[in-house]
Symmetry: C2
């Protein structure tokens, strides 16, 4: 499974592509950041994010896109920008018919570090280890995007296994002879 | 000036097209709502909003798009959806090179009723009167979209006049003989 992780933001939108399935070593395929100038108008910034993400989708052809779920508990202004950038990411993926999955920051941290309260340094360190990189990807938005992709591969596969197990169980039950 | 007003929302995205300039009677050109099913995935909903707004832009060819500015003081879940829908509206307009202007709900209410605290019924009544309609447009999101367009025509023109006056003043000053 190839996953594009997107850590949405207007100024820096982190993107990371990871290949993998649960239980096997993961492989980083690409990582980077789509940037837009802070002094540009909001419309221009959203167009630049769309163009940047389209280029990533064209080049890496992911099967799934994982986007960080935005909460509004923090700074209002920042959250609006994050929500708008995430909308563009979700739109770009859905327009291509790609499945989009949202994961909360806690889910992502818990997936890669074991703790939903891990700090950025810990997430960066685990991403570096899990993908066998020489150094943590910079900026943190890029590392977070890779963590999102890893989170999705592990959680997605676990969810799939559960669904398969349930389906197998149901199938077995319906195949029981009705005597 | 032809303005497309957009009252963003995931379930109902109000759209209204108004022709006019300040000081002259306004004319409604079109009004409606882009709807998406509440049980659809977020990606699907954003794609439907994009397609709906593109159809309005294609049909009515506005010169300017006015979108309600989203604040996060209300229900968190609703605000996120509104921010995402507004991002799609801003993106659709900016991609065509159309100027996008954001107006707060208070600005819109104050523009059409004289009070920033007017209720929906009052806004609907004034939109009906200003556009010489037989009845208030339904649902309220459609009336709000028309109010946004009217607000933009009046404020935009006022802002233009102020800019022109300032420019004329500056120009007159620089043209004064330096004696």
């Amino acid at each position: 499974m190839r996953v594009l992780g997107v850590d949405p933001g207007l100024t820096r939108c982190g993107v990371g592509v990871v290949d993998g399935t649960a239980g096997r070593p993961l492989a980083m395929v690409g990582v980077g950041v789509v940037r837009t100038p802070a002094d540009a108008e909001i419309g221009r910034r959203l167009v630049l994010i769309e163009q940047g993400l389209e280029a990533w989708l064209d080049e890496y052809r992911p099967e799934v896109v994982a986007v960080e779920r935005v909460f509004s508990q923090h700074n209002v202004r920042t959250v609006m920008g994050t929500a708008q950038a995430s909308a563009v990411a979700i739109l770009c993926a859905a327009r291509r018919g790609l499945p989009v999955h949202l994961h909360t920051p806690s889910e992502v941290k818990a997936a890669v570090t074991g703790s939903g309260r891990a700090d950025k340094a810990q997430v960066g360190a685990m991403v570096t280890r899990l993908l066998r990189l020489d150094a943590p990807p910079k900026p943190a938005d890029a590392a977070d995007a890779l963590a999102l992709a890893i989170c999705h591969i592990w959680r997605g596969t676990a969810a799939n296994r559960l669904q398969q197990a349930v389906a197998a169980h149901k199938s077995a039950r319906t195949q029981e002879p009705v005597t």
